[in-house]
Subunit: 362 residues, 2 copies
């Protein structure tokens, strides 16, 4: 398999990416939702441009580096991360985009962003981030969210633009999802009404992650979604049923380097190629699975070694064989590589840099 | 703390690194052991040169990139990884060093390395890797190891140079370590005698990892050690007692970005800065701890968020505060960054690239 490529090396199946991107764009269009994909998954203008070409209205970023790099792909950037660090806030204020929005949840972040925006002499839009059950970041009470929105609206260089939330806590089975989505829709509806009653009806209600992607239209007043993982998908996305196995577009090509220890095979992809991410909600299920032998998982890892569990397969690997590993969490695996190889019909078509990884100024 | 630095950013305490490097060099000298540090931890010629200046006889690498970059720091390189992939073998054969050694455990690796060495017209030395209990790679039986060594010795461009093993399975308490070390010494002694009886006495017996570093002289016929983590140390090294907490030289400087959810604080260092590595042998102990508040651990993470557990501390973080996180496994954290900031007495002294990270040709 692609014998000229040195392993470990990340492969992207271009036909699958194109299908994944088109499918979500079509879903968003069908339901009248603005699509603002999160670039953290691919960190590549190559893929961001494909998303924009399919109708994404803007892009979502986490880091200043991501935003700087993505300014080449879209003029409308959301940095969905509290701009507390003054250096971070200054980089955001300096972005070469037509419209820049930040999501935040504290007075400190409002003040840091207002100072940086003023210093740069540019308007920055603000989403107020609310916690609707994820318990990570986000204002807890609607009245506090309104107060924060007012503070942003009153700041000279800021403009209140909407509400943001992240439904990362909704991941379970269908029945639990039904109940959680109904709760979410109610929470959001009440929040929007309270904001409206305070004279600050949010123009945008921004949510959506890949696990709940296909049910975003059931999230009440949501107007915008920010899925990331769907471009490549991964073992977790497949296990939770948010994609099929053959929608997994990203794999790490690896070589079997040792079969010396009975009952296992060792490949040259370990933590430094796959990350040590769990399949969400499941322990002890390994750190990835083989695309062509999904019954074979990466049972344990060192930095540059992955140990394949051969207990459930009739496949008998030999030293020198090549395998494609679907990582548990693709966003973390992509972040480990500087370059990605795009393949179609088993042949190399192009290569691109994972340009937005790292922290340096772009 | 270093307010001009944008977070998250990796800091290296230069005084601590110098102390760590000197201490291990002194230990190796005292016991007449050759020191061949593994560069996977720092991936930086800056630190490798310091190790060589303190008497390291050569360097150990895992990837071809590491070896290519480290040729500037040492002329004697060991690639402790099976050269099965022909592209990998060719890069190793092309290294600009005076002496190149590979560790391997299969006939396929001997053949791949012999072909590449022949094509490059250079001699490559071979360590035969034996499994002494780690159960990862390594020939299982001494007679098979001898056969493999003979195969290498008979190959035109290869030269049998010694035995290698990795005592990564020896990590437990002192009593268990005593027993495991005695077993290891016996295994090694018998292996060396069997090789000698076959007319192939190994010139080098290469082992050693940071957890067992200080007991390397109890490992029977060991002549060479390859510790990596000791330059920086990490939370695991401290927890298992192989270093003190104030020997931890590498931290990730992070900013508190949210305290919106009661009972926790969120920092801007998550999986993409710290890695999701366990403290070895302990589950549910978080993914790092604060250098200045070791009772505070990183309880959970997203890609760019780390949630601090405040249950056991009287420290009350505020949004904008800065903290230094000691990661559980420093080698994995270093691999996530392109640049490191060297500090001394709280001030920035220098910066260097993590030059050997990634896979590209150097």
């Amino acid at each position: 398999m692609l014998p000229d490529l040195e392993t470990p090396v990340p492969l992207v199946d271009l036909a699958r990416v194109e299908r994944n991107v088109a499918r979500v764009a079509s879903y968003a269009r069908t339901h009248g939702l603005a699509l603002r994909p999160h670039v953290k998954t691919h960190k590549s203008p190559r893929i961001a441009s494909l998303q924009v070409a399919h109708g994404a209205q803007g892009l979502t970023c986490a880091t200043p580096r991501e935003a700087e790099v993505m300014a080449s792909a879209s003029r409308d950037l959301l940095v969905a991360y509290p701009p507390v660090d003054p250096v971070r806030a200054a980089r955001i204020a300096a972005l070469e985009a037509d419209r820049v929005t930040v999501a935040l949840d504290s007075v400190e972040a409002v003040e840091a962003m207002a100072r940086a925006a003023g210093a740069a002499g540019r308007t920055v839009h603000v989403y107020v981030e609310m916690d609707l059950g994820m318990r990570r970041v986000g204002v807890q009470a609607v009245e506090d969210a309104i107060a924060l929105a007012r503070r942003a609206a009153d700041a000279q260089w800021l403009e209140f633009a909407g509400l943001a939330f992240y439904p990362g806590h909704i991941r379970q089975g269908v029945a639990e999802q039904d109940a959680a989505l109904a709760t979410l829709a109610t929470q959001l509806g009440e929040a929007v009404e309270a904001f409206a009653a305070a004279g600050m009806r949010p123009a945008v209600v921004s949510g959506g992650s890949t696990p709940t992607l296909w049910r975003s239209h059931e999230m009440g007043p949501v107007t915008e979604i920010r899925p990331g993982t769907y471009v490549y998908n991964d073992r977790t996305t497949a296990v939770i049923g948010a994609c099929d196995w053959d929608d997994c577009a990203f794999t790490v090509l690896a070589t079997v380097v040792s079969t010396a220890v009975r009952g296992q095979a060792v490949i040259d992809a370990g933590v430094k190629s796959l990350g040590r991410e769990p399949v969400r909600g499941a322990a002890d299920e390994g750190f990835g699975a083989l695309l062509d032998h999904p019954e074979v998982t990466v049972r344990s890892m060192s930095e540059e070694h992955g140990v394949l569990d051969l207990a459930r397969t009739s496949w008998t690997p030999k030293v020198g064989d090549r395998v494609r590993v679907v990582p548990n969490h693709v966003c973390v695996a992509v972040h480990l590589f500087d370059e990605v190889v795009g393949v179609r019909d088993g042949a190399i078509e192009e290569r691109w840099r994972v340009e937005a990884r790292g922290r340096a100024h772009a």
